[in-house]
Symmetry: C2
């Protein structure tokens, strides 16, 4: 596995792989790799022959500098996991490689109004900007993003479409622990007690799934039940429970077109998210 610290090394390796007839697959990460990330790699391998992973903790997408500082970093472990998963090259840049008095930002003007965007001003601007940069550095044919960060997926999808970025975006399903908790780099911050409480998030989605399968289409009714279920876990606070259109990420009143049920809650100071995609009112991912 190649570990590239510079843009030039990265581009050279990609150029050589492409010259050898390989399709380039890309998995952007902020490190702290867990099985969720590794499943993105195995999905990328189905679509491409040369897999590039980036590991870069992107300061400009953190609202709170403390959150940036405490973001888990163990790059040696990450590199070893990436190699085992079959990554061909890790792009592991320093901050100075990525940012030099940056004045240019990429923004989606309305997709960040609800869900996580509402409480994280500037977060998705930071995500769009770094993803555009990484796409331009790696120039992949395919890039894989996890459904776990559903708003991020949707924003990156729309951004790639709007800016004509020549990349195909693949959405990988959420990986879960055996008891249902969505895998996250943040889970390691949970105490044993909080780890148990946090289950309420995935369980609330199961509650919603059953309701929807029974024919419930009122989003207010579904959200009410989801909220009751989440409260059983006694989170320190609920950030949001929303059902939004997949297309616009704006709240909807009745299930009809493709939509997303998403929730975020705090357990101690750890903010966890979970979601499911609802297609045509009953098929659920």
């Amino acid at each position: 596995m190649i570990t590239a610290k510079t843009i030039e090394e990265t581009r050279k390796a990609v150029r050589e792989a492409r010259a050898a007839g390989k399709e380039i697959g890309f998995v952007p990460t902020m490190g702290a790799l867990h099985e969720g990330h590794l499943s993105l790699v195995s999905i990328a391998k189905k679509h491409a022959d040369f897999i590039v992973m980036s590991i870069f903790v992107n300061r400009i997408q953190f609202n709170d500098p403390k959150d940036f500082d405490k973001y888990p970093r163990d790059f040696d472990k990450d590199l070893s996991l990436a190699e085992k998963a079959g990554v061909d090259m890790v792009f592991l840049p320093d901050e100075t490689v990525m940012y030099n008095n940056p004045l240019t930002f990429v923004d989606t003007s309305s997709l960040d109004r609800y869900l996580c965007g509402a409480s994280r001003p500037g977060h998705f601007r930071g995500v769009c900007t770094v993803v555009t940069k990484l796409f331009n550095i790696v120039q992949p044919d395919t890039a894989v993003f996890g459904q776990k960060d559903i708003q991020q997926v949707r924003i990156v999808e729309k951004m790639a479409e709007d800016l004509n970025i020549p990349v195909s975006i693949i959405i990988a399903p959420i990986r879960r622990e055996n008891d249902g908790l969505a895998m996250s780099s943040r889970n390691i911050h949970l105490s044993n007690e909080q780890r148990k409480q946090a289950l309420c998030l995935s369980e609330s989605l199961q509650t919603a799934k059953k309701l929807i399968e029974k024919g419930e289409t009122s989003t207010a009714a579904i959200i009410r039940e989801v909220e009751a279920e989440i409260k059983k876990g006694s989170p320190d606070s609920i950030d949001y429970i929303s059902i939004v259109s997949y297309e616009t990420l704006e709240p909807i009143k009745t299930l009809s077109t493709k939509s997303v049920l998403a929730a975020a809650a705090f357990f101690g100071s750890t903010r966890l998210i979970d979601n499911m995609i609802i297609t045509e009112g009953d098929s659920i991912q």
Copy 2:
């Protein structure tokens, strides 16, 4: 010469040219081609083997819809001029090819505060967004922009650097009529009388050039003389006369590092601009 109306045709032709070992040169325009544009083509031909020109009047960079409506359009004439100049492919998209409910925009956060940006809020956001899109569609090795729109050049340069767009930006010198007037698509809107008055812009730069060559480094003193010279042409109004750092596009008090003297004035309802780059206090472009 190929005339491509779709993104797919454009990418296919570029892919074939590249497969044949050619370097791709790109000249983005809004049509209404004049010798200034054609000089960009001949400069592109020095750096690349397959020259793509885009012709697209980009609505989102116009502040005033009337200005967009009255922007001169004669695509048949443009295509004929492009072919004569040796362009290999013109990308001539409809608006629906370029924009489909766009929500993503590219912005430079501080380079648009002065010069033309001050009176044209959103203009450079429109420019950055369309140039990013065109770069992603054409994927050129080299792109040529005219120094005439100096703030645009500088913003595109910084944007390409910030977003790691793999393109080399070339700045082409300003083309002038025999009497010194900078060539512009807008010059055709000038009456004979206004055409004579408008000369004051290029003449004011000559005045500044002489002052600077004599050793004047106070930008206030230079601007005072430039203003007196422009007023001799009785413009309907002067939008700005500024001396800014090339790097930051912010006003400076004393000539030292690379800087730009730029002016904009109205003749009737036609807004004209002109500029010169000052390097190390005395070398002038």
